[in-house]
């Protein structure tokens, strides 16, 4: 004990080091104080005896220690009075002396030297008297003790017992480790602990433990912001880099028509030149535009599916409800709650959840009137379909009207008439879900099932609206293309007239130089499409923010302040505070992402805009939640593992990229704007690249590979593979269930109550 304390106090002396280093020094000093030159000699004796693979390591260890010690000793030697053996130079003795000023030897030091030497002699006696097997056993015992020390924190013993065991084990290890010549483990462990603490970090965000039910917290936090944000960022990055790569190389600036400066910004498709290779890097701009567009879609697919797979793996067994009541009882209270208001909310929500579970239990035992329920459900679905059809028609009607307005000239109409389409879509998106909620009261489903139906219907609403919008957009595209044809015709006429005017018979006139800025510009339907999407996103954003401010904030203010002078309790009764609807918000994010995917090909900077919007939304909604929302009454999650939302995202991804793919494949690009101008189809750029940039054989290989005779069998093979994988996965699931059941029965048979009791006692 004396030695240890000395070692410790030595560590204290004026050194500013981090903890692991300090411990290590303390330890090293302690172990060294038990060793001396004989110790190191002893090591060398031990080494040939020890046969295990650890021998090499040990040798290296001690060698490292020795070289280090040698360096230290060489420094100390100057202050040394006594003579020592080359090998005998040691460690803490010399270290101690280095720290002394001038290397004086006091009485105390001498006494310590003597003591140390005694202990060392003892150790060496033990050491030399043991045979190699006993050494092995000793080594194992030391290792076991070390493991015990490392695992001590996780043991369920009372802390007093832990301290005692710790002390004993440490003494044991120190005593015998000296004989075996090791001492590195501790430093490594301490380092590992430090690293794991440094890297552990805090869970994301301080959010809404106050208002988000624990069950939803994962979906609210992880999914909602991070995932979407991450994907948006990646898409933005890709598109932005491709944008910036061509930025310095734009040679021609065509005539700017002041129909809005932004129209010709990098934001839209029309900005891009159709020059095949740009700048000294020979950057293949059109090709890159095309590939980036396709690449971002492919990347998105990959990310979504990989996340789904990972979720499915993790939750695995998590979706079963076998311990419903137990889990509610033992894991529903959040021990982190310290705020009385939050605690009250939590009590209330726990009570509600128990009541729901009880109801569910009771209902599953009684038999309802099936026919009535079925009829009501059919009725409800019929009403919902009517609603959806109505909203679809309304949007179509409004788009038609806006086309008429556009033909009249937009200046003659009010703001509302100009932005009718977007406003109507946003308003529908706001009110229809409420209607669906009311209708679903007829259906009388289990809350989770009802939630899924609700989400499915909102999804259908959104899709219907979006597709109606796209169809209307298609009409506009066709209009623009007709316009284009007219202009093309006009241009040829105009050029011909110019030409005719300047050339006379039999003269070799220089070709007419036509100012590029004077040529009449063709319309650019792609830019128009991009513009429409940007307008849609912006209006959607605005609607969200305004709903937030009015529906949540204003409502909270009114409820709080009018409550003093109102006849009934506003807070508990009718308006009360708005709930934070997690599923609704997640859905909103999914739809937002869908719109981005749709518009990204024609408005390349849309993802960047969206990232900005997500930033702002996050802070705004964070504030709104903390300030004006109350937790949801309903505690059911839509899905056990977030895969429900991911599946929705996947479907939206698919459906969003369909229109873009359709336009790429069928509609010829504008002749006058964009990177594909002049081509018959947009994907011709690939053909062109294959022909000009790659060697001839590559083109041949590619044409063979894209032969339908090869592609169709390949697709058939894939379908068969999917079928096979599907059936094996089903059989695995069944096997899993069987095993689970077997396990339960085995446990029941194998553990009579007494054995369980004794198992329990072992822990304590």
């Amino acid at each position: 004990g004396n030695e240890r304390r000395k070692g410790a106090s030595r560590a204290e002396e004026g050194e500013s080091q981090t903890r692991p280093e300090r411990i290590d020094r303390g330890r090293r000093k302690r172990t060294r104080s038990h060793q001396d030159t004989k110790g190191s000699e002893g090591d060398e004796e031990v080494q040939p005896k020890i046969q295990s693979g650890r021998a090499a390591k040990t040798r290296k260890h001690t060698k490292n220690e020795k070289t280090r010690k040698k360096e230290e000793e060489e420094k100390a030697e100057k202050g040394e009075g006594k003579e020592r053996h080359g090998k005998r130079k040691k460690t803490s003795a010399s270290k101690k002396e280095r720290e002394e000023v001038g290397g004086k030897h006091t009485m105390k030091e001498k006494a310590q030297e003597v003591k140390r030497k005694n202990i060392i002699q003892q150790m060496n006696c033990i050491h030399n008297s043991l045979s190699s097997e006993e050494l092995e056993k000793l080594k194992e015992a030391v290792d076991e003790r070390k493991k015990l020390i490392q695992a001590l924190r996780g043991k369920p013993w009372p802390i007093k017992k832990k301290c005692v065991i710790l002390r004993e084990s440490q003494e044991f290890v120190e005593k015998y480790e000296g004989a075996l010549g090791k001492g590195k483990g501790r430093k490594l462990y301490a380092y590992k602990v430090l690293m794991s603490k440094a890297l552990m970090g805090r869970p994301y965000g301080t959010i809404p433990r106050k208002t988000v039910p624990r069950a939803e917290a994962t979906s609210a936090m992880d999914f909602a912001v991070l995932w979407d944000f991450g994907v948006s960022c990646i898409i933005t990055l890709t598109l932005t880099t491709s944008c910036f790569l061509q930025w310095p190389f734009h040679a021609t600036f065509r005539k700017m028509c002041f129909q809005g400066y932004a129209q010709y910004s990098v934001l839209f498709y029309g900005y891009y030149n159709n020059q095949r290779a740009v700048g000294w890097l020979k950057f293949r701009m059109p090709l890159s535009y095309f590939l980036v567009g396709v690449g971002t879609v492919a990347y998105s697919y990959m990310v979504v599916i990989r996340t789904m797979a990972r979720n499915a793996n993790e939750s695995g067994v998590g979706d079963d409800n076998s311990f419903n009541f137990n889990w509610r009882m033992f894991t529903s209270w959040d021990y982190l709650i310290g705020n009385p208001e939050t605690a009250d909310n939590k009590f209330a929500s726990i009570t509600t959840s128990f009541k729901e579970a009880i109801l569910e239990e009771q209902e599953s035992q009684k038999d309802d009137n099936i026919h009535l329920t079925r009829f009501l459900r059919v009725l409800a679905n019929f009403l919902v379909l009517c609603c959806l059809a109505g909203s679809g028609y309304l949007i179509y009607f409004v788009v038609r009207r806006s086309q008429k307005f556009a033909l009249d000239g937009l200046e003659n109409h009010t703001w509302w008439e100009r932005n009718e389409v977007n406003m109507v879509m946003s308003l529908l998106g706001m009110f229809c879900p409420m209607l669906f909620d009311v209708i679903s009261a007829l259906e009388n489903y289990h809350p989770r099932v009802a939630l899924q139906w609700q989400l499915g219907r909102i999804f259908a609403l959104f899709l219907g609206n979006l597709y109606t919008f796209i169809i209307a957009l298609m009409d506009e595209i066709n209009l623009k293309r007709e316009e284009e044809n007219i202009i093309k015709f006009n241009i040829t006429v105009w050029e011909a007239s110019l030409f005719n005017g300047t050339v006379s018979v039999n003269s070799t006139a220089p070709p007419v130089t036509i100012e590029p800025a004077d040529v009449p510009r063709g319309p650019c339907w792609e830019t128009m499409v991009g513009q429409e999407f940007v307008r849609l996103i912006i209006s959607d954003t605005m609607t969200t923010y305004i709903t937030l401010l009015i529906g949540d904030f204003l409502r909270a203010v009114l409820v709080r302040f009018l409550n003093y002078c109102w006849c009934w309790d506003l807070e508990a009764g009718f308006p009360s505070y708005s709930e934070f609807d997690v599923s609704g918000n997640v859905l909103g994010l999914i739809f937002n992402q869908g719109m981005i995917w749709m518009g990204a090909f024609y408005a390349p900077c849309l993802p960047a805009l969206n990232v900005l919007r997500l930033h702002v939304s996050m802070y705004l909604q964070c504030w709104a939640v903390m300030c004006c929302n109350v937790p949801q009454e309903r505690v059911f999650k839509a899905s056990g593992s977030n895969n429900f939302y991911m599946a929705m995202l996947l479907v939206i991804l698919f459906l969003s990229t369909l229109p873009a793919i359709y336009t790429i494949v069928t509609i010829p690009p504008s002749f006058d704007c964009g990177p594909f101008s002049g081509k018959q189809r947009m994907f011709d750029v690939i053909q062109e690249t294959l022909e000009s940039d790659f060697p001839a054989w590559f083109g041949k290989v590619f044409s063979y590979a894209s032969n339908p005779g090869l592609v169709l069998p390949f697709m058939l093979l894939m379908v068969l593979a999917i079928y096979y994988l599907q059936s094996t996965s089903k059989s695995y699931k069944e096997a899993n269930m069987e095993l689970k059941k077997k396990l339960q029965t085995v446990v029941q048979n194998m553990f009579p109550p007494l054995v369980q009791q004794s198992c329990f006692n072992v822990y304590f």
């Binding site: 369920p156 311990f323 009590f347 128990f354 009791q757 198992c759």
Partner: protein, 187 residues
């Protein structure tokens, strides 16, 4: 980092670090918290292991524990005498088990102790009833309470003795998705 503190010896701090999931800094912070619960009772110098215990009433007043319906059970399960009087070691032990770093098995053991009101190493119906009443502030009717407790025992009881032994409890709680995140106190 300077080594200016005089509350603990280095060995004591090392021992704490080995026995709990806390670092040096956190242990010193815990000591400060312990001290501020009763500045006159708790000495600032722990180098010679003073025998100082704080009563239950003081400890459950901490903001981290105050709102918890199981606060007294928590403190009692970590006290040596079972009455809730915690020495500093037990105080540290308590927060160590409830911290983020403690493994699931360890937490399950202590959770079982906490919910076992009559300390008979079984979660019998009365224990469950008490737990439930604490959780719902007695808002459920007695029949509902009965129903819930019976269902709970039915779900988890493997050996058929109509009460939950530790093995039953552990089997149930290790599958719970929320256990680790809810059974967590940050200090």
């Amino acid at each position: 980092m300077g080594n200016k503190q005089t509350i603990f010896t280095d060995e004591q701090l090392d021992a704490y670090q080995d026995c709990t999931f806390f670092t040096r800094k956190e242990i010193l912070r815990l000591h400060a918290r312990y001290h501020e619960l009763a500045p006159h009772l708790v000495p600032m110098d722990y180098t010679n292991d003073p025998d100082c215990k704080l009563p239950l009433a003081l400890i459950v007043n901490m903001p981290e524990l105050k709102e918890n319906p199981f606060c007294s059970r928590i403190v009692e399960s970590f006290s040596e005498d079972g009455m809730g009087n915690l020495s500093f070691n037990e105080f540290v032990d308590m927060f160590s088990v409830l911290s983020e770093m403690a493994p699931r098995e360890l937490k399950a053991i202590y959770a079982f102790k906490i919910y076992d009101y009559n300390v008979d190493n079984f979660l019998c119906k009365e224990d469950l009833e008490k737990t439930l009443n604490k959780l719902t502030k007695e808002e459920l009717t007695p029949e509902e309470v009965q129903l819930v407790c019976e269902k709970a025992i039915e779900e988890a009881d493997l050996d058929g003795d109509h009460k939950l032994s530790f093995a039953d409890f552990e089997n149930m709680i290790t599958r719970a998705p929320d256990f680790l995140s809810t059974f967590h106190i940050r200090i």
